[in-house]
């Protein structure tokens, strides 16, 4: 069976799944709108948690959080299910497809065959929609792909039951109840306020404080960890910032698109100006990535190079702090 489902590419997988599922249910909501209302933007540095042998840096909230916040704020209900049994997981998916209900899936990337080999890491927070099944093959709408694709039963089972951090455990999710009309205005304000709170939180691991902390550590890495490890860590930051799904500049551009759209919905000129400001901050993040890549490209970096990129980060932290204070007052 094949459900009449419109696939639209997005920058980020979770926003894209939500946006595409909403469209299927008759609500047109853009990717930046989902991201902004779901308070997706963040900066967080978790030195005690390591992935690929480097401390975790993230520019977005935890997987699943965007959809949950978005749903709560616009008044839709989401059903989520995880499974212990592989058979049950497939059975439930097939039941939904039979009922003409496309579902969102959380999957691991490592065994996702249509990704280039170099991109297949043990990353378990990828999202896709399954919108049909034909002769034992599942029809897949992966939001980061230009076109729809497909996976065999075995292939899908493997990615649904990937193991490690954030193991999906066959996780499926889909919206079940909708309001008559989507009330975006209040939801936008709530989403913005939440992001402002996160980004200016008085905790060293989150928001602008975490950016400053990262800058400080970068200065110490070459002498404390050695150039090789320092470069590996720096590379990991750039990868998290610019990996597929960020829309560029560590999600700052998607957020700019959200503020521009929000300024029209709320008829608030200030948000339009702030959209320009976060776009410029996004450009600074890109400059940071360019300079960081120069360091690890040459492998013969001087302390000076690390200090320079650390200065860039510290300056970004100041700008983002001012930005989120203004943004809080603007709504």
């Amino acid at each position: 069976m094949e459900i009449n489902f419109t696939h639209k590419q997005s920058a980020h997988c979770e926003n894209g799944v939500v946006s595409n599922l909403m469209r299927f249910n008759g609500f047109e909501v853009s990717e930046p709108m989902v991201f902004g209302i779901g308070s997706g933007l963040l900066f967080s540095y978790l030195p005690f948690l390591k992935v690929n042998h480097a401390p975790v840096v993230t520019y977005r909230v935890m997987p699943g959080v965007i959809f949950n916040r978005f749903a709560k704020r616009v008044g839709i209900k989401v059903k989520r299910e995880k499974f212990k049994s592989l058979e049950k997981a497939q059975e439930r998916l097939d039941q939904n497809l039979k009922k003409n209900n496309p579902v969102g899936l959380q999957v691991g990337v490592y065994n996702l065959g249509y990704f280039p080999e170099e991109y297949r890491f043990h990353f378990n927070a990828h999202n896709m929609v399954v919108y049909g099944k034909k002769e034992g093959t599942y029809l897949i709408s992966d939001p980061v792909m230009e076109d729809v694709t497909s996976l065999t039963e075995k292939e899908l089972e493997k990615v649904r039951f990937a193991k490690g951090a954030f193991a999906p455990k066959g996780h499926i999710y889909y919206p079940t109840e909708f309001p008559e009309k989507l009330e975006l205005k209040k939801a936008i304000v709530k989403g913005i306020k939440h992001t402002c709170k996160d980004m200016t939180a008085p905790i060293p691991f989150v928001g602008v404080k975490a950016i400053r902390k990262t800058a400080k550590l970068i200065r110490k890495w070459p002498s404390k960890k050695g150039v090789k490890t320092a470069n590996h860590y720096l590379g990991q930051i750039v990868r998290m910032q610019e990996e597929i799904g960020t829309g560029g500049g560590g999600f700052r551009y998607i957020y700019g698109a959200f503020l521009q759209e929000a300024s029209k919905v709320l008829d608030n000129q200030e948000l339009s100006a702030l959209s320009k400001e976060i776009t410029q901050i996004g450009d600074l993040w890109r400059d940071f990535a360019v300079d960081a890549s120069r360091i690890y490209k040459n492998r013969s970096a001087t302390e000076d190079g690390y200090n320079k990129v650390a200065d860039q980060l510290a300056s970004i932290a100041d700008k983002e702090e001012a930005f989120f204070k203004k943004l809080k007052k603007a709504v």
């Binding site: 690929n52 280039p116 170099e118 193991k163 490690g164 750039v238 560029g248 320009k276 990535a289």
Partner: protein
């Protein structure tokens, strides 16, 4: 970033026919999207990460050939895993997996455990025991 500044550098995304989506502003300052074939600073970071894994894998391979480690450590690195991920796939505590890195412990592993490792790495038990096969 302006729409016409969205990078179109060469990258290995091309091999899988993937283009990634950027958000950028057009000439009227309106946000829009644009597809990109890749961006060098990012490609360099990814290449370095891959090289790092290849180095780790080669070190593990040498250790196995010199009887300093069991093949499990080698296959773990080859599959870009760390002990935590492998333990999760095996349904075991990490310290047990780590113990299996010792050649002396590996030699005494049960058929079932070997079979399970082989399944996780998608190879035969024979290949698990002899990394050059």
């Amino acid at each position: 970033m302006k729409k016409n500044e969205v990078p179109q550098d060469k990258s290995n995304l091309e091999s899988a026919n993937i283009k990634e989506m950027y958000y950028a502003v057009d000439e009227n300052g309106e946000y829009t999207t644009e597809l990109s074939t890749g961006w060098d600073p990012k490609t360099i970071a990814l290449d370095n990460a891959i090289k790092e894994i290849e180095e780790r894998t080669e070190i593990a391979r040498q250790k196995v050939l010199n009887d300093k480690a069991s093949p499990i450590e080698y296959y773990m690195e080859l599959h870009k895993m760390d002990v935590g991920i492998l333990a999760s796939y095996m349904g075991m505590w990490a310290w047990r997996v780590k113990r299996h890195f010792k050649p002396s412990v590996f030699k005494k592993l049960s058929k079932n455990t070997l079979q399970k490792y082989a399944e996780v790495f998608d190879i035969s038990v024979e290949q698990l025991k002899h990394i050059d096969k």
